[in-house]
Amino acid sequence: MVKERKIVCRCEDLTEEEIIHAIEEGYDNLESLKRYTGATTGACQGKGCLMHIIRILSQKTGKSPEEIGVTTQRPPVNPVPLYVLSEGGESE
């Protein structure tokens, strides 16, 4: 039963097929696609998959990567444990 699975986002275990399906459902801009599929919101925060997502979106919609843009990058750049952060300030 193992079909050819092209994994696009390793953190969220998303295949290319699933991304294309979401685009066809109408989640055809990067911000919506990201939220609908979870792509780029996992542990790597898009470092592994964002470019693939943009490529697929570009192929499916005919828009250039420039038109598609990139998603807002959120801090922190790498995961930081709460105990480390909690040393950074006072709770009033």
């Binding site: 925060q45 709460l82 480390v84 909690s86 950074g88």
Partner: protein, 360 residues
């Protein structure tokens, strides 16, 4: 009747959905994408344990609607009713919880006061020494805001509502009364224009020449990496404003309630991350080793007396549907939208009297 709704947040979409059920012809305009506003950035805490008595009947009604809507619109909202705990870390706030629970009970909310040791029974690893007293309501929980919006949008479209994203309303055309809106370079005729623009509502209202002085609040929030189902209820510390819960994806989602700002901004700050991490790990020390993956911020509005602003204005056909407020917008929007749809179609609705823009 043709209605133009400005803003595709939970308020705009629930109003659109119920209007379409009453037979109105509705177009919703959204300046960006569907989850751009507060409705796509919030923590999904849903409870009738509200400290504003005017909102409680709407919260109770919305709880029913949140049960019914997923089947109606054919979209799972991932609403998990594992309870909601409010904790107080000062004696004054403990008294406030007691007073709030008395009022809630009078209005039919099954909330109760619980001792810190009892919170530990609800939440593994909770540190009872971090609080003075708590209140609890089992008929509450955490909803995933994204499917709420996608689902409402789906229900709207099924009923013939047109949702125009990436289309900001630039002008509200008024000649005597409302004539329509100008958006994306085109004129769209409308008999009624609804301002459901959340934090942008003051600006939108200006376009109709109507003064609106809602407060704008900015709220920061973050998620950790995912862990197995661990935290059942939503926890909200009313003294520090810190709240946290576990999402359907296993992340611990938490933030600090909003502060009033003069300008709309969604910047993230390190100061927030530090304050949040400190209090969250006091409440549940076991979270210490958990890593924060991502933080963001959202903006929402609140009527200047703390209540929503919903109803007809002095300009014929121009309707306010904003000011939903701190920790209450997702909770009251379905019921509020439904009542507003009735007001628009029937011209009157006594259930919305307290929220009328004419009260100021």
């Amino acid at each position: 009747m043709k209605v133009a709704i400005i803003g595709a947040g939970v308020m705009g979409l629930s109003t659109a959905y119920y209007l379409s059920k009453l037979g109105a012809e509705v177009t919703v305009f959204e300046q960006k994408y569907l989850l751009y506003g507060a409705s796509g950035r919030n923590s999904g805490g849903i409870t009738p344990m509200i400290d504003k008595k005017e909102l409680i009947p709407f919260a109770l009604k919305s709880l029913e609607l949140y049960d019914k809507l997923p089947a109606e619109v054919d979209f799972n909202f991932l609403f998990r009713k594992d309870g909601y705990v409010k904790v107080a870390a000062s004696d004054a706030d403990a008294e406030k919880l007691k007073k709030d629970v008395r009022i809630q009970n009078e209005l039919g909310v099954k909330s109760k006061i619980v001792e810190p040791s009892e919170v530990k029974e609800l939440v593994p690893d909770f540190n009872p020494d971090s609080i003075v007293l708590a209140s609890y309501c089992s008929e509450s929980g955490v909803i995933f805001p994204w499917p709420v919006i996608w689902g409402l949008a789906r229900g709207c479209r099924e009923n013939g509502v047109e949702i125009k994203d990436q289309t900001a309303v630039d002008e509200i055309v008024i000649e005597g009364g409302v004539r329509g809106v100008r958006a994306g370079g085109e004129f769209h005729k409308a008999d009624v224009v609804v301002n459901a623009a959340g934090a942008w509502s003051n600006k939108v209202s200006e376009k109709a020449g109507v003064k609106l002085e809602n407060k704008i609040l900015k709220e920061e929030i973050c998620v950790t990496e995912s862990i197995k189902p661990y935290l059942d209820p939503y926890i909200y510390d009313i003294t520090y404003g810190v709240y946290l819960s576990q999402s359907a994806r296993g992340e611990i989602v938490g933030g600090i309630t909003g502060r009033e700002v003069q300008e709309i901004s969604t910047d993230s700050t390190l100061e927030f991350a530090a304050r949040y991490a400190k209090r969250a790990t006091q409440l549940i020390p076991m979270l210490k080793g958990l890593a924060m993956l991502r933080q963001w911020a959202g903006v929402y509005d609140e009527g200047k007396d703390g209540l929503p602003v919903v109803g007809f204005t002095e300009v014929d056909g121009f309707v306010q549907a904003n000011g939903l407020g701190k920790h209450t917008g997702m909770i009251v929007a379905p019921a509020l939208g439904r009542e507003l749809a009735r007001l628009i179609v029937k011209g009157d609705n006594p259930n919305l009297k307290e929220f009328s823009p004419r009260r100021f």
